[in-house]
Subunit: 429 residues, 4 copies
């Protein structure tokens, strides 16, 4: 089983975090899935992912003091494995876990994903719970000095104990039974925690052992560029940024990150720019809000993510999606880049502008994206003396967001772009 | 109450760690106290300190795998306060805690000390135990991301919750009831954990609140020189090194540390060079051994510690003390430096040699220590053109370890010293 | 010769830099010296220091592009030693160097100081000039990789060549001939250039060799606290800050630096808070301006410098000194702290306030300084439960800037202080 | 002009450094070129590169004290441009520079390269020499604080002065006149000098301006992975290591570096593993020696360099090449990887072993390299469950160094390899 075959193009889907934080429930997940099946599936959107703390009782009820209530009750089976709490996920009753929900998602022709934290529940370690398929108990494989600095739920696993692999195997065996297609593992991929390499390998081996092609996504980022080979070997996607939100400085900063990681996108290997905070977001964090991005910034974000071929995960509450946003997410010409663009390269970048170029895999075409990074409208020049002249000379090129078509005499031309905006051209040879 | 009056000279005593590791019991503590009272008390030795994990059941029983068994049972009262476990400290039965043992130590004319870890027991947080004198429960004041990296017992306290002070107050109220004279708080003073500043302050305030002059000692070190003012303000002693053992490289390195901290020794403020690994040590760590230091190195260590005025804490099992070691610890002329030397300064230091100079506070005398840091016997020169000539010119100076007396024509002279050895002179004006 | 006897109290004087930058001339130096002799000498002010680039032709003439014109002509003798350029220092003609000017300063009962850069002129190395008292030539002792990052004049000396010491000896022999009393050596003391330790030692040995008690001052700072012993052994003063100017954030930051270095002030050893940017400053930097400090900030600065016992070096153009500023510099009760205060300690400090306490060396008195670090007037409390009660109980204490006297019932009292202001009390027991 | 077309495959050639250090002369360069033309050219070897200090008089004559004699005479034209010194390069007389030597190399059907240091000669700055094509003089564009830490010859150029570009343009105009095909620029690409980015861009623009397709090679390394895009945009090759020599730890370490950079090899962009210290090397450094690598290590080095597609630059004195070494350098099946292997990936690596896999660009074949990194002979397993089964199943695969052919039942097989040795297989589908 080759993990690079689990997702031949960047995964597209929805994730509960940006809107619901820790507090999403089954009904809400289903409603978003229903919307996706009805409105987005045909454009390639397929994953429905339940994010953090589906196992945590009372999650979200002390939001003024804690994002994650420490030392609180979690739903767990006798083998130290977290299970959905039934107050929010009623179908998980009688030990059914996420199987009923996954079945429902699958019935819509979609795929089902969950978020997990690296390690084993702290509560399991303190209670000396069992580990499925092993004589060890949780206290023997939990590493008391390996914790997450922002979430209190887990202990990392001891890399020097082979029973640790048994525990991860037992997790994925359960997830395979449930029908999970996608696992986003958190607290495992970040510049200041290189020791998680061993746990990434254990996750990978557990996936191979469970025989189900579960896509493995690593968080929270930013990932380490000097461990790129390791991610490519053992995972399908890894965050190249800490949590991304609807703020221009974060979006502008993503150009630097994409520059850094552009050579590391390949089949089954996707550096991840994080969720798209579009439409309505933020309810679980205290107050629902419409995305703070301007329309131009949204176009810039979608253009960069597609050019770079990042996974696309929607943060929006889908049932509230407006027409504008829906249009942004259903532009087939743009989304085609995720599946048919290759060799995307940044051509230039400074504090004011950036340009990217790629090839279509099937058609004799180029894609060219131009970005205005300044706070005012401006003329963006494309002036690449080093390109073969034949690329643009006299060709018609079509802007994929607007349908406008222009012609260039050669590789040097310029175009007016709104503040923080972008143009995405397709040039047919 | 001025904390600088709690110990007007550097504390001298015995600590259970170097010999017993985590596993010392009441009988052993008493035997060492008896020896001290009978043989060392008259020389100034007075503290008897029970080191780490006196509250931990089965401590030391899984020594092949763990120094500290993680997620194991600890003895604790209803208010989240650790108490001595009665299998090793039988007199602690019926909630008496360390009071009976402290009473016994006091009856010998000695003082009693204990080791604690910064924070609140992890078990208390997970069990939501009460906090004495507060409505908060342990889970509310424990910081789930504040842990010790080498010991699994505690969570640090939230600096932003005032109930944290209540918890520390409740601890010292209990210790005052027991009759504790000295607290060595661990995991609180180290270059890579500056955030413990707030917890040091809380400890200090808890001591003032309990009205008992409990000496506060901070570990593990190395302390941060740029936080020196903070230690001097809130504590009585702080380790300037990580754990010190009987190894020449560690001893040689201490010269650099003493150079760094020499200006920070004052009444009630003692940078701490750590325990003296003399005589028999190491039993609890797996194998009892006689100190690995040569006799010359032992002389060097005692000379440096006394010249620098470090606290002196014996690591040796006192009941097995040999005559040589006992002689080292009962040289009144040398120990006088702890109480009557002032203004000690390093005169020079390089990789081969070092010299220190100080004044006697009562007599018209100087102390001069010369060290041979090389691996072979050699001639150590003292050549200080900058000193007032009158110091050594024609004076008799007595070597305090051997009683030898020599005379110097001026400030320049030289003496033969064994490899890793030292000479400690007293010069009467 | 003991370097600690060269200046038994913190040096007080005037330095040309803050007003003239690189471009001061002989006449201006004399005018400032005249003023000092007539108006300030009786208060202890005595050093007149010519700062950077007295050897540089055309210094200051390309101020729009360079502070220090690179690769430009410097005045130098045949032995690679920089000498004053005669266009600005006419009395230096005929190889007389600074002797005539020094003689003049001495005739006023004052002392004369100069600034130098660590090392040997780059020009001397490229021209293979001679070194006095050595067969080596400049190119052999100059280290081509040891440069100053902000001044282009010099190469550092090779620490591994003994001829380097010969060069420094030749410098100080010349300075002794001139009658120099004070040398401020730059580019030698800073956290990011630890390798200068060896050059500090060479300077010290050169001073001993020249037999003249030349005070050695090290710049630019911030000095390294972990090399404190080294500075105390080899120098008289060392900057604990980078260049200090008339800006409140810099002044507020000095409280942190004084906290750090407070234990390192002793006879002949003075951590240095840098020049006092009072009165008129800045002319050589492009535009003369009256200090940007408010009167309250000036009081705070003077109070902190005196309490800490920093050297006091005036940056003001003395001939333009106004009455207010002159009053600030001639308050004998305040300046007494430089000569008769001892053991100054910070009592507390946070972002809003600070307090320092010291003893008078002769009188039975205490000094207490209170600072309001906030941007608004406020009540500053002094509440030291740890002090012996007898200090303040019922005593009269006099504010040394205003002469106001108040009485306190005990160690707890409070006082109203202006924004960024200070009160300095003397308490007679 | 597209710089990626300057060298469509990794450059292969000879460099004077490993054997001659700074002291190579014209006759020696010609002798090596002659050998190359006669014996190696047909295998793809074509560049002849004169390394560092061809402009430095007396280079190498004070080798006991200096590698580079500081502040010594250099050959320079009136425009601050270094030229070959005629004692070692007689044909450079009458201002002909390297043109005669380049012509000779070209006459052999080979290409000619030179080494330069970033910046402008220090001597030119101190002498205020002219800059061709600009009114500025050297002292105006030289940055006095931008130096090389291991070579004393140059100052970096001011990035904020446009005349700096004029200087670089004048250099490459001259090099184009001479007929230079390859420039190795030193002191410009290293993890601790990020500020050189601007100078890399200036070099690139100077090459475009001179209209000659001069390959640009950056040293000394290690290059910064987070500036990979910048190197790929502006240079042809960049060192991923500091100087590489014939030492097993350095060779073993190269596996880590190749892992890091494997995604950054493309047409015109070659991460560079540095020169091959084979045959006789070291004469200029003090003593000629035969490479310290075992034959197995030499095979490992050649296999890794070819698999990774590093440039191949011979350090050996070619006129002394033995048959074994010559065999190593003329194995067409192995060298084919430089021109016809693509997509090379590390399959696994730990402290004991490594494996790489790539495709042939024309034939339906795979290349598989297996390495034994241990100090003893051992069995190296290849066990890639994730590869498509069809790759190895039942195929014949030929070891390209020995010609041995074996067959594998599937993707799992193992082979015995000598200590530090390698096997390089070609598998025909």
């Amino acid at each position: 089983m080759n993990k690079n075959n689990f997702s031949l193009t960047p995964p597209m889907g929805w994730n509960s975090y940006d809107y619901y934080d820790t507090a999403v429930n089954e009904e809400q997940v289903k409603a978003n899935a229903d919307y996706m099946a009805a409105n987005l599936k045909e454009y390639g959107w397929e994953y429905v992912v339940v994010d953090i703390q589906w196992y945590a009782l009372d999650a979200g009820t002390q939001r003024d003091r804690y994002q994650y209530i420490p030392f609180w009750e979690v739903a767990m089976d006798e083998y130290s494995r977290l299970v959905p709490c039934t107050d929010r996920f009623p179908s998980a009753k009688d030990g059914q876990g996420f199987k009923p929900l996954a079945d429902y998602i699958h019935s819509l022709g979609l795929k089902f994903g969950i978020h997990i934290m690296r390690g084993i529940p702290r509560a399991a370690a303190h209670e000396h719970r069992k580990v499925f398929g092993s004589d060890a108990t949780a206290n023997e494989i939990a590493d008391p000095s390996s914790i997450c600095f922002w979430n209190p739920d887990m202990y990392g696993l001891r890399a020097d104990r082979e029973e640790s692999q048994a525990y991860y195997n037992s997790l994925f065996e359960l997830y395979a039974q449930w029908g999970v297609d996608f696992v986003k593992c958190d607290d495992i991929c970040r510049y200041d925690m290189p020791s998680a390499k061993k746990e990434i390998e254990m996750l990978h081996h557990a996936i191979l052992a469970c025989k189900r092609p579960i896509v493995l996504s690593l968080s929270p980022g930013p990932a380490l560029i000097n461990e790129a080979w390791h991610y490519e070997k053992y995972a399908n996607m890894w965050r190249i940024t800490d949590d991304f939100w609807d703020s221009w400085p974060l979006l502008k900063n993503m150009f630097e990150r994409c520059e850094l990681w552009q050579n590391h996108v390949s089949e089954g290997c996707y550096p991840d720019c994080d969720m798209l905070p579009l439409g309505y977001v933020g309810k679980g964090f205290g107050e629902e809000r419409y995305t703070g991005f301007t329309k131009e910034e949204q176009v810039t974000m979608m253009t960069l993510w597609c050019m770079f071929r990042s996974p696309l995960m929607l943060g929006a509450e889908l049932t509230k999606l407006d027409e504008w946003t829906k249009g942004l997410l259903t532009n087939k010409d743009v989304l085609r880049l995720l599946t048919h663009s290759i060799g995307a390269k940044q051509m230039y970048r400074d504090s004011k502008k950036a340009a990217w170029l790629s090839r279509d895999t099937e058609e004799n075409a180029w894609y060219l994206a131009l970005f205005n990074l300044e706070d005012t409208e401006g003329i963006i020049e494309f002036k690449e003396t080093e390109l073969e002249e034949s690329i643009f000379k006299g060709k018609a090129y079509e802007e994929l967001w607007t349908g406008e078509t222009i012609r260039a005499a050669d590789n040097n031309f310029s175009v007016r772009i709104a503040a923080h905006g972008a143009k995405l051209y397709k040039v047919i040879e």
